[in-house]
Amino acid sequence: MHPAPSVILFTTFSGLGFGMLFWLGLGMPAPTGLVAFVFFALAYALAVGGLIASTFHLGHPERALRAFTQWRTSWLSREAWASVATLMVMAAYGAGLVFAATRIAALGLIGAALAMATVAVTSMIYAQLRTVPRWHHWSTPALLVIYSLAGGALMTGQVRYAMPLLVLAGLAQVSAWMSGDKRLAESGTTLATATGLGGRGAVRAFEPPHTGPNYLLREMVHVVGRKHANRLRLIGLVLGFALPVLLLALPFAGHWLALAAVLSHIAGVLATRWLFFAEAEHVVGLYYGKR
């Protein structure tokens, strides 16, 4: 799949933002006044900024409100509802902390649950697609939820939780890569089933229907970037998880080191998210003799 910057930024930053809202909702931490304002402002900037980035890849963003109508079948529509619900509940909860120094615990818990539900629903947009075998697996929502929990814990300063979650996210990512690399082959979809001609002999794409590029190839058959995949995987693991854990573990940890850990984590997540799209093979590529 084409690794569109808007979608990479959207999933990365909204994942972090909703992860922050999760921990804030649990009351970990439960700041009040100005400190609470800074925390919530950052979480909202990330979550809402991510959502806005996602509208950049719409052909007609002015009709975006229509995306709320089909929640009965569409995960994308459910995502619209879940994110708005989370943002409203957490706004009320945050207002209590910022302006009244009161923590309405129940509201926070509901908001935390909604925040993680939003991340899970977002990941279902990808996991539901049978056409992309690498994504069509329970590990896709699991991975994105763990990423969000770990990133949120890191950004809200929950070092005690951030360290094991970061390690877990790194391990989950490695295992998702390992199983994902085999999933297209395991799906059983090949040029033979795509054309129905497999029973007659070995099928080979002889001549494509068009000599130039087209929407399908640009959008769904992204093969160029994959040659650097292994290097990027390493960079993603080191920056996203290993380095932040190391920085948090240093005995003289302070605000600057925490900031470095956060920036390193974001850079690492961006790298792995780029791979999430670039490495995902859509079965339509088979019709073109590509994967």
Partner: protein
């Protein structure tokens, strides 16, 4: 509404005969022509005369080589457009309701004025049957020429999809698969009409007829096997010539 109808009254679709298709791309051109001038936004081209042109098409013809274990390879021309699936994943993923499947005839359509151009339906289609138009920024797909097949302003013979009307080889057939006595149902049953990627669970309406087996060249001379050359290496004078020429240093070519 993106909930799929449980069943449709009629199941309109195409039979595509891979045995007959000659790969002329006439259906591609007639589809582009009709659908640029009629239903919805035109099918735009970008830098059409630049050498790196690109454009929206609702029907494209691939060509495949099939190499059987024994015998000659076969070339199969393979037109591909929307299959108007009964379990159309492109419809259920749509967040806006722009994509829908009609309960009366099973045609899958996009309401372009409701489409936000998110592209998710194109991701959900296994067959590459949907293309986002780069100028109109809405999703385009085969309408089964819904504006021809019911169009009483057209002579009756033209009330079929443009690709079917155009195909000079008669490789495309249009009809109702819900009617077991329709020409397409009979054709598909007789010739073993197949689904593309059945494992995707989309239950396509369109059926593809597999190419018939090719004739085998028969050995007509019963003595021929006894006269088969005993060696592939040239002998005698030819052998000497072959060895000598091979030994010469390479010429200017």
């Amino acid at each position: 509404m993106t909930e799929l109808p449980l069943s449709t009254e009629r199941r309109l679709g195409l039979v595509i005969d891979l045995d007959t298709c000659v790969g002329c791309h006439a259906c591609v051109v007639s589809c582009k022509g009709w659908n640029t001038e009629n239903y919805g936004a035109p099918l735009s081209d970008q830098s059409a005369y630049s050498g790196a042109g690109s454009g929206t098409f609702l029907n494209r013809v691939h060509s495949y080589e099939v190499q059987p274990d024994n015998g000659a390879a076969q070339l199969v021309h393979f037109p591909k457009s929307c299959l108007h699936c009964q379990d159309a994943p492109c419809v259920t993923v749509c967040p806006t309701g722009a994509s829908y499947k009609r309960a009366e005839d099973g045609i899958v359509l996009v309401n372009e004025s409701a489409c936000i151009g998110c592209g998710l339906c194109a991701w959900a289609c296994p067959y590459g049957a949907r293309e986002m138009d780069a100028a109109a920024k809405v999703m385009k797909k085969c309408t089964l020429c819904v504006d021809r097949i019911y169009n009483e302003n057209l002579p009756e013979v033209d009330r079929v999809p443009a690709c079917v009307r155009t195909c000079p080889a008669g490789a495309r057939h249009f009809g109702d698969f819900a009617d077991p006595d329709s020409a397409v149902s009979i054709l598909s049953a007789e010739r073993g009409g197949m689904d593309l990627m059945p494992e995707m669970g989309t239950r396509p309406t369109n059926k593809y007829l597999p190419p018939r087996p090719r004739d085998q060249l028969q050995e007509t001379d019963i003595l021929a096997p006894y006269l088969a050359p005993v060696t592939d290496e040239p002998k005698g004078f030819l052998g000497w010539l072959d060895r000598t020429l091979s030994a010469l240093p390479k010429g200017p070519l």
